[in-house]
Symmetry: C2
Subunit: 422 residues, 2 copies
């Protein structure tokens, strides 16, 4: 028979067991923290009607979409978890209680050009809070607290959540009569981490005479309180600016009450997308800024305008876990992750019996990872197997041990062994 080559598509992550164990650990940290803060799980289909999924899409997104036909149905694979959330909330509006706090952790699909570190199938881990008509600003503060708690538990180094409010930027530009250039200017500002301040200023100069004002505005520095004070001292009376500044002050006030400090107001954060209308977040690992933002999001005015006339404002954030995991490995942040899958390997010298299973069950009930070695091989080969398994401890049970109601516990790393009485 001609064999088929067992290939996996490029751009699709498929990990070996010990990496996968770590990946699951991170996923569980994210999930349990989302749950702790009363977000409820949502699990929408991977496949949707193409016209539903693409109601809002266009341009790049539409080109990247995985589409398929089944019978007469024109279908597509989800490319994010926000559109399915919008569909779900619009569809179930009458049954849901608002504010609706949901988390969803799932794979999404984008047929991007294959590239190092780019994935076509990847996990997004999203939380969003959706309000009915209005949504209190306390949730804009809760989100950084949750992301901070997750990053602390993941133990991948220090981080900072960079916080801004789009209205402050919008109001500032409107005040300079630059509203028409705003999208373009924000797009330029968004590149500041990549191209540097000088190049940003050059590009802005080509658009307006106010490049100095813009640069000194986005360069406002100091502690969070100092930045807020300097923004106030600008005495800008533009309505949107004032609204944004008040929102930011309220969010900062909540963050103080929540005793959360690992954030920094950063006026360069714009989150290019038109989508965001208020608070915006990006998250940087301080020792690994090259990884880029590991959790981004913000507030939007209306979640589901393509499906319903209800006004549904929301605030949310997303961790792109597949990309983050890849980058953490790549940057060497994750080390020593090749943990053994089994911690105790029982080697019964003459077959298993009740004695063996008593020891096995005892370890199992103590939540230890234990296995019985049943290979039909000699002792030396079994010890070799234990080494291949990278198991820290071997439990040896022979005739002598059984008679004495004991077993040998051998440390495979230092070779020491001791007798354990039952």
């Amino acid at each position: 028979m001609k064999l088929v080559e067992p290939r996996t598509l490029s751009g699709f992550m498929e990990l070996e067991p010990s990496s996968q164990l770590l990946f699951e650990k991170y996923k569980n940290i994210i999930e349990s923290t989302y749950q702790k803060y009363s977000f409820t799980p949502l699990d929408t289909p991977v496949i949707e009607y193409a016209n539903v999924l693409l109601a809002k899409a266009g341009g790049e997104t539409e080109k990247q979409i995985y589409r398929l036909k089944k019978g007469d149905n024109d279908l597509a694979l989800r490319f994010d978890l926000t559109v399915p959330l919008a569909k779900y909330v619009a569809k179930n509006y009458n049954e849901l209680v608002f504010p609706f706090k949901r988390y969803q952790i799932g794979k999404v699909y984008r047929g991007e050009r294959a590239q190092r570190g780019r994935f076509r199938e990847f996990y997004q881990c999203d939380i969003d809070v959706i309000g009915d008509e209005t949504l209190p600003l306390i949730y804009d503060a809760q989100i950084p607290v949750i992301i901070g708690e997750i990053l602390n538990k993941m133990e991948i180094g220090k981080y900072v959540i960079r916080l801004n409010n789009r209205k402050i930027l919008n109001g500032f530009f409107s005040n300079l009569n630059l509203t028409d250039f705003q999208t373009e200017i924000l797009r330029i500002i968004d590149k500041i981490d990549k191209i540097g301040a000088v190049e940003v200023e050059n590009e802005i100069k080509e658009l307006t005479k106010y490049s100095k004002e813009i640069m000194s505005f986005i360069s406002i520095t100091g502690s969070n309180d100092e930045i807020l004070r300097q923004l106030e001292e600008l005495k800008i009376e533009d309505e949107i600016f004032v609204e944004g500044l008040n929102e930011l002050k309220e969010v900062v006030n909540y963050l103080k009450l929540m005793k959360f400090n690992d954030y920094k107001i950063d006026l360069t954060i714009a989150r290019g997308l038109d989508y965001y209308t208020g608070t915006v977040y990006e998250t940087t690992l301080i020792n690994n800024p090259e990884i880029g933002s590991v959790a981004s999001g913000g507030r939007y005015e209306n979640l589901a305008g393509y499906y319903t006339n209800k006004k549904l404002p929301g605030v949310g954030i997303s961790i792109g876990l597949t990309r983050l995991f890849y980058n953490l490995l790549d940057a060497g942040v994750i080390k020593d992750y090749k943990k053994p899958i089994v911690d105790y390997l029982i080697i019964p010298m003459d077959g298993v019996d009740e004695f063996t299973f008593n020891i096995y069950n005892q370890y199992l009930n103590e939540n230890k990872k234990v296995e019985i070695c049943m290979l039909d091989k000699n002792f030396k080969q079994k010890m070799k197997y234990a080494n291949r398994l990278n198991v820290p401890y071997v439990i040896i049970i022979g005739e002598n041990e059984k008679n004495n109601n004991e077993y040998v516990l051998k440390n495979m790393y230092d070779g020491s062994q001791k007798i354990i009485k039952l």
Copy 2:
């Protein structure tokens, strides 16, 4: 703007929040139990090369497949988790340590005819142990123990794991020179739960004069030990039969050592598929036999023959969680699942402050589901909201309470309330 109707495809399960919470609870029980027994997680792509995924498929399976094109690639969505496992093991043979114990919980896709209780996207929760050349029978015993532990934790009623060995059936038929009719006869026997013994005998009569022998064979009853004794007393010398009986005895012996009793040898279990070659399992909920088998599987001689010349025997089982969940709801086994999402709702009478957050953090740190009600509404409306949320307790903080360093804890079910001192 014309609105798009927010539809979900039929055959795709999308639950409301409290059902989803319960679904996640079951999924977590399954996952944590699989992990407890040292199975490692595997997460393969949902999309694979069509020629890889369909190396073995044909007939019904191939018709149900979701296929798609992306660029020049002919792709397909996985229809089970066994083929991806075969691909993975063949691909990573040199890096894996055998026996390789993996679990995978994920969605699979089958474009079946839409029908009540049939799903086109559904979760499978699989464990398999794969050996290199050989695989000890102890794993055939471990699998029912794990499934039993999961079903006990799920608290969905009594169950029995029905156990058989295909070699016993095969050997028995070979002994009657019925090997050519065996597949057909097994297919008929497989229907015994649906059509009854009389109809099974009638159908078998059309094939062979040995219908009496076959019926009395598959009707052997009694305790597990009694069945084994009766099988021995048949004194069938067919090699395959003897091998199957010895295997079954060894598995039963392990089950005794593992102190597991919730299984029953059942000679009618054949698992129609050619795939299984030794031990086979089905699992029945005793009070809800109409649900059918909730966990089925068995031993196979060779996992990945389409991808590699290595002989890789395995044993595994699968829980079809989506279908099971639907059936449990449908049969009324799951009741009272509409648990509240939030247990404590804090209503601060005059805005949030440090006092509010101290109480909030205290509840949060005790792992209680707590929320602060921030709605811009009056007290009566907030209490109405608490009722809609179905929250068991409301925490009321007013000026008085703050001055006295206390809060009111109101039980929303019986209306009682008490003062809690901080």
